[in-house]
């Protein structure tokens, strides 16, 4: 199981990176669009590996289906073939590449520090003066955001869900099987995804419960957003403004 996850991760990761590069470098917009669809499918595979089944389906339906059909429709409507984009290296190309590469180096160095969690000072190892600067030490501001109380709140949440006493109005996910043993992870320990999550994590049921309870206002607002975008698109694309 774990071996298969590893193999599929590297497969999907390589596919995602290669098709992303294909999107950027291909000269013909239609080929870019096809590479992007391929890329969305690889991302959907990664979402399945992260047990986000609902998001994987939405990714294929909304991104691979709706949005990319729109893109290909526009490309074919405008009849864009090879644009004969000028390939000569201009100064802004160099600036763009240097800028994005240096940003990537910065983010990469930040990410690589996560691998070894011991390099990040904890409440025990850090000296007193570094702890003063931590926002969680400011009383009343982010008072409950230090690691210990986060961890404590997280444990309380999980035991409430397991006991079936967590309210649906909490908007939080309640596991289907309350008798299943739940290993409570510490909030930020280690670098691995923390197992086991509930069997229906990331499926339609908990997602829909969240969307119509705790996140009902943004959910309804997104309806307004989509309506506005639809009307706006029709108005803008009309022959005469």
């Amino acid at each position: 199981m774990d071996m298969a996850t590893t193999i599929f991760f590297w497969l999907f990761a390589a596919g995602a990176v290669l098709s992303s590069i294909a999107v950027v470098v291909s000269r013909i917009p239609l080929y870019s669009a096809i590479a992007l669809i391929l890329d969305f499918f690889f991302f959907a595979g990664l979402y399945v590996l992260l047990s986000a089944h609902f998001m994987a389906i939405i990714q294929i339906l909304v991104y691979g289906g709706a949005i990319m059909v729109l893109f290909m429709f526009i490309i074919m409507l405008l009849n864009l073939r090879d644009e004969h984009e000028v390939v000569k290296i201009r100064s802004h190309h160099a600036v763009a590449v240097v800028l994005s590469m240096s940003l990537m180096a910065m983010m990469g160095s930040a990410l690589l520090q996560i691998v070894d969690m011991k390099t990040i000072p904890t409440a025990e190892t850090a000296s007193a003066d570094t702890l003063i600067a931590t926002p969680s030490r400011v009383p009343g501001l982010y008072g409950a955001l230090d690691e210990a109380s986060l961890d404590q709140g997280f444990r309380a949440k999980i035991s409430n869900w397991s006991a079936g006493t967590g309210k649906a109005s909490d908007g939080k996910y309640r596991p289907v099987d309350p008798t299943a043993p739940t290993v409570v992870p510490t909030a930020m320990s280690g670098g691995t995804p923390q197992h086991p999550e509930p069997a229906s994590f990331g499926t339609v049921e908990p997602m829909s419960l969240l969307l119509v309870n705790r996140f009902v206002v943004p959910f309804e607002l997104s309806v307004l957003l989509l309506l506005g975008a639809m009307v706006g698109a029709v108005v803008i694309a009309k022959k005469r403004l």
Partner: protein, 100 residues
Amino acid sequence: MITITHYLILAALTFFIGMAGVLVRRNAITVFMCIELMLNSVNLTFIAFSKYRIDLDGHIFAFFVMAVAAAEAAVGLALILHLFRHYRSVNVDSAHELRL
């Protein structure tokens, strides 16, 4: 063993491929597709952290990002269509003046 760091590095990599595309390419539609690529890699970060924390909030955030991306695609492509009608080109350099 695949850790969350693998997913974060992969997301960073695709984000910066998309960013390089936005900065380098001059075709408005390709630039737009690169923006979708960047949005997608951010979604991957959200979902990786969601799994790591066993908390569905990241999925919800990615869901709303997708809704906004759909709206953005509709309006943006309409704008590109209008741009093409006016300049007979989708090169972003052709639209360097504010007046029509």
